[in-house]
Symmetry: C2
């Protein structure tokens, strides 16, 4: 959509954003900690036990029956979660059914989408789905970037998704929650069964606030299914199906440590920085992602901790076999897990009371009375681009294509120290640029950029600059890093973009941080 001047506004980050998105008035980004919610939290419609079976058995015969009973109709908002990742069989089925029933103009509200959801492009084209609010990874992102989606994409962080639901900005009509294990009352968890996912935190808001909630499982157990990560008291219908997903694809393919010498060096440099900065100390806490480099940082942390004889109080974030082994070795007291990335994570969560299931509510929701993200001493994150003001982009590539969601990235920026280890360039395209194509995180929150050829510390973090003085680490300004890259690769070309806006980026407080523009065709 091409906005007239009267339809857009320049926000506090200097980005033009639409005043309305998909028919709803928006608030432009006002700066850090500037926007406070003015309304009460959302309340879903009142319900009564009188309308639910006394024996607690909410089982219906099929997903179709459940959707029909839930009142599926044109224009509704349908939510799903992404714990099945690229092995998800469920989301596609929902829209196959909607298509068969002739339902139109649905809004799909996933916590994330994956390449397996390319199946849904046909429904975006034929009007079954009007638009998606949620991360659009891979094919759906490309479809959006090419300007083919009817509405605007709305990208939110995991915490922003909880915030939007809690605050009533997104009102879910029907939530469909796949669960590795459930009872007929609707109590559910992801801890066992052929489609186990560990936890189900991304479906928590959906269960609490959606008007109708459907729990689907391929592993129905006798009441009580415990722990009830999803509480049956929020659930309308339960469904047993043959198979929720492909276990091999539910488990992420990314949870192996990088073998690339360059990436390993990057990881080592990051860990060395943390050691010199005094971050790795008794009782500290950390979060590092599930990508190859991030995993390697964790392994270097392990070495440092063992050498120094210290342990961490907790590790936050997605769990994997490396983190589980640190828990089991006693190097971390607790894993506060938001997403189990491999079967070792699932096993550990089921067995170990110190491997704790968390949710976007506990960890990331900015419209709560605090959250866990800001308690973490150091977080290691990625980025597709970083600019000389430390602003970062995680959703669009150098060619401008929207190919990633934000996950918990924005939320993690509230950690005490935020470090982005990135290669200085990718495919001969510099990562550090004059201005990021898409603003996902304000530079004030990004403390350190580590590249294989140098480390830039945000000038605002004088404490860190002082702490690593004399350490021998290759500290330089971010402009120096940019120059280094440009000397090797030349000045990168700007992506070729149209004026049309195809998606928007929400900040953690629900305000509009940036717009994503269509690729010039």
């Amino acid at each position: 959509m091409i906005l007239k001047d009267s339809e857009k506004v320049k926000n506090a980050a200097g980005r033009w954003v639409p005043k309305n998105v998909n028919g709803k008035a928006q608030v432009p980004y006002k700066g850090l900690a500037k926007h406070k919610p003015k309304t009460r939290k959302h309340g879903s419609s009142g319900v009564s036990c009188a309308d639910y079976p006394n024996d607690g058995n909410k089982l219906v015969t099929s997903l179709k029956e459940a959707l029909v009973k839930a009142g599926l109709r044109d224009g509704m908002t349908i939510s799903t979660h992404h714990h099945f990742r690229n092995g998800d069989y469920l989301a596609n089925q929902i829209f196959d059914i909607a298509h068969d029933l002739g339902v139109k103009n649905l809004m799909w509200f996933p916590s994330a989408s994956f390449p397996c959801h390319e199946h849904l492009i046909q429904y975006l084209e034929d009007g079954t789905i009007h638009h998606i609010e949620g991360s659009m990874n891979g094919p759906l992102g490309k479809f959006t970037s090419d300007g083919k989606m009817k509405g605007l994409g709305v990208l939110r962080s995991h915490g922003g998704r909880y915030q939007a639901v809690q605050d009533g900005e997104v009102q879910i009509d029907i939530a469909v929650i796949g669960a590795g294990c459930a009872d007929s009352f609707g109590n559910a968890n992801g801890l066992s069964g052929p489609s186990s996912t560990g936890l189900l935190g991304f479906a928590l808001a959906d269960s609490q606030y959606a008007e109708k909630v459907i729990v689907v499982t391929d592993n129905m157990v006798e009441f009580p299914c415990y722990p009830w990560q999803i509480q049956g008291n929020y659930v309308d219908y339960t469904v047993k199906i043959d198979k929720l997903g492909d276990p091999e694809k539910i488990i992420s393919g990314t949870t192996e440590i990088t073998k690339s010498p360059d990436r390993l060096f990057l990881a080592e440099l990051t860990a060395r920085f943390c050691e010199h900065a005094g971050i790795i100390k008794e009782g500290f806490s950390f979060q590092s992602g599930a990508g190859g480099t991030s995993l390697a940082v964790g392994e270097y942390f392990r070495e440092i901790m063992k050498r120094k004889g210290i342990k961490a109080r907790f590790a936050r974030g997605g769990s994997n076999k490396y983190l589980v082994s640190m828990l089991e070795e006693g190097l971390v007291d607790y894993i506060l897990d938001g997403q189990t990335f491999d079967l070792e994570g699932v096993r550990s969560m089921a067995e170990n009371s110190r491997h704790i299931s968390t949710s976007p509510f506990t960890s990331y929701n900015y419209h709560g009375k605090g959250n866990f993200a800001s308690l973490v001493d150091v977080v290691i994150l990625g980025a597709t681009e970083i600019d000389v003001n430390f602003n970062a982009n995680v959703v669009t590539h150098s060619d401008g294509y929207l190919l990633h969601g934000m996950g918990g990235w924005q939320n993690c920026l509230f950690s005490k120290t935020v470090i982005l280890p990135v290669p200085l360039f990718r495919d001969r395209i510099p990562v550090i640029v004059d201005e990021v194509t898409t603003l996902c995180g304000p530079g004030e929150l990004i403390d350190v950029v580590v590249t294989e050829r140098g480390i830039a510390i945000n000038p605002g973090r004088k404490d860190l600059i002082k702490a690593v003085k004399g350490s021998g680490l290759p500290v330089m300004t971010i402009e120096e890093l940019k120059d280094k890259a440009e000397k090797i690769c030349g000045k990168p070309e700007k992506p070729q973009l149209d004026e049309d806006i195809v998606a928007v980026i929400k900040w953690v407080d629900g305000t509009l941080l940036d717009s994503v523009r269509k690729i010039k065709q």
Copy 2:
């Protein structure tokens, strides 16, 4: 308060109830499953992490400071929970502070009150507290019955209390939650420490919906305090004090099996009834209270289960050493615990993953999408009076004094079979009467009355009547039971009551079931 005709209405149970209570319009009881909520669930005010400490440390120096920061002022609603039972030191302190600060007209909204709260009568008299909505056991009940409280008492079941908060009928300004264990962020549980209580389920609604939440502990631990029965993301301030309560009194005095031969016979007869009726079968579920007779019923269940070689899927309700031993012997798969009554219960809940912490939300809230109470095969409850229509009273004595709260009693009436074992008379006053003084539970929901001299089955339960035919059990009509009692004790006198209403009884759906009248002075 004496109601004019225009101020009261006769409800579907034939009881006169006020149209307004403490300034709020009321809905009269309409019959079972007749009243559905018309409004959305309550949403508390929007909040932002921007207003909470980044490091998660919400500790303030004293309860007084926390109350002042929370904005304590005239007319507020202050909530507490009753997990400390008669050993509670916290509730009294709150109102001592309010009194010192000169705050007036507070509404106290406890989940229950105990004799230790007699201390608060001075504040009811001097206007610090305007009135109490919550059970008024013992001295506070007598104070109310004597017509001395400024407002009307409002008695709700545990589930009704959750419903009232969830639906916004009661809006809590400040919730003060004592916890055996907490961290400075506000995550809390009752599992350890000198004032451990097992679970904290009665404070759940308060944490979720109150405008300001204060967690108080005498056992502050390092983040993360887990399990977080109370989630720190709902908490505004945390306080460390010396002592939350008297451990000896936190543990209920009632959790010993009766030694009275009459009561043991009553219990045995109840268990025999259940056996003959086919209720005690493989995978069944039961709930029996913590009173001496109820505990004895459980022990007779144990004998029957062992003899028959069967086990129960779950036991619901308060836990105690007898129930814990059944769990540990493998006679029950799960305890779904709402209130730990002794230290064995606390120990088991902390150690055993099959001893599950539940809440009024999961178990009792009638304005949910089902709850656990209706899934229970048989529940054993008490009553102060039962009338010939099987209506029962649990709050007023034969002299008309309001001396008990309802606890989960009303909620448990939704069990598949409800049995009330009661002595035929107490102190030569018959328990079965023409009409109960105070209606707490409609007769349609009460299935069986067991007395030491005979068993009456509700005529509506033809299945039960048929099942025990030929069993040799002393089955008779409830009128026959009443006649037996009256032959021995004579016709009981009606209590001497004024026209003044001093309290009201809410039904599980928030409607008014009955009024409690002042004792004639």
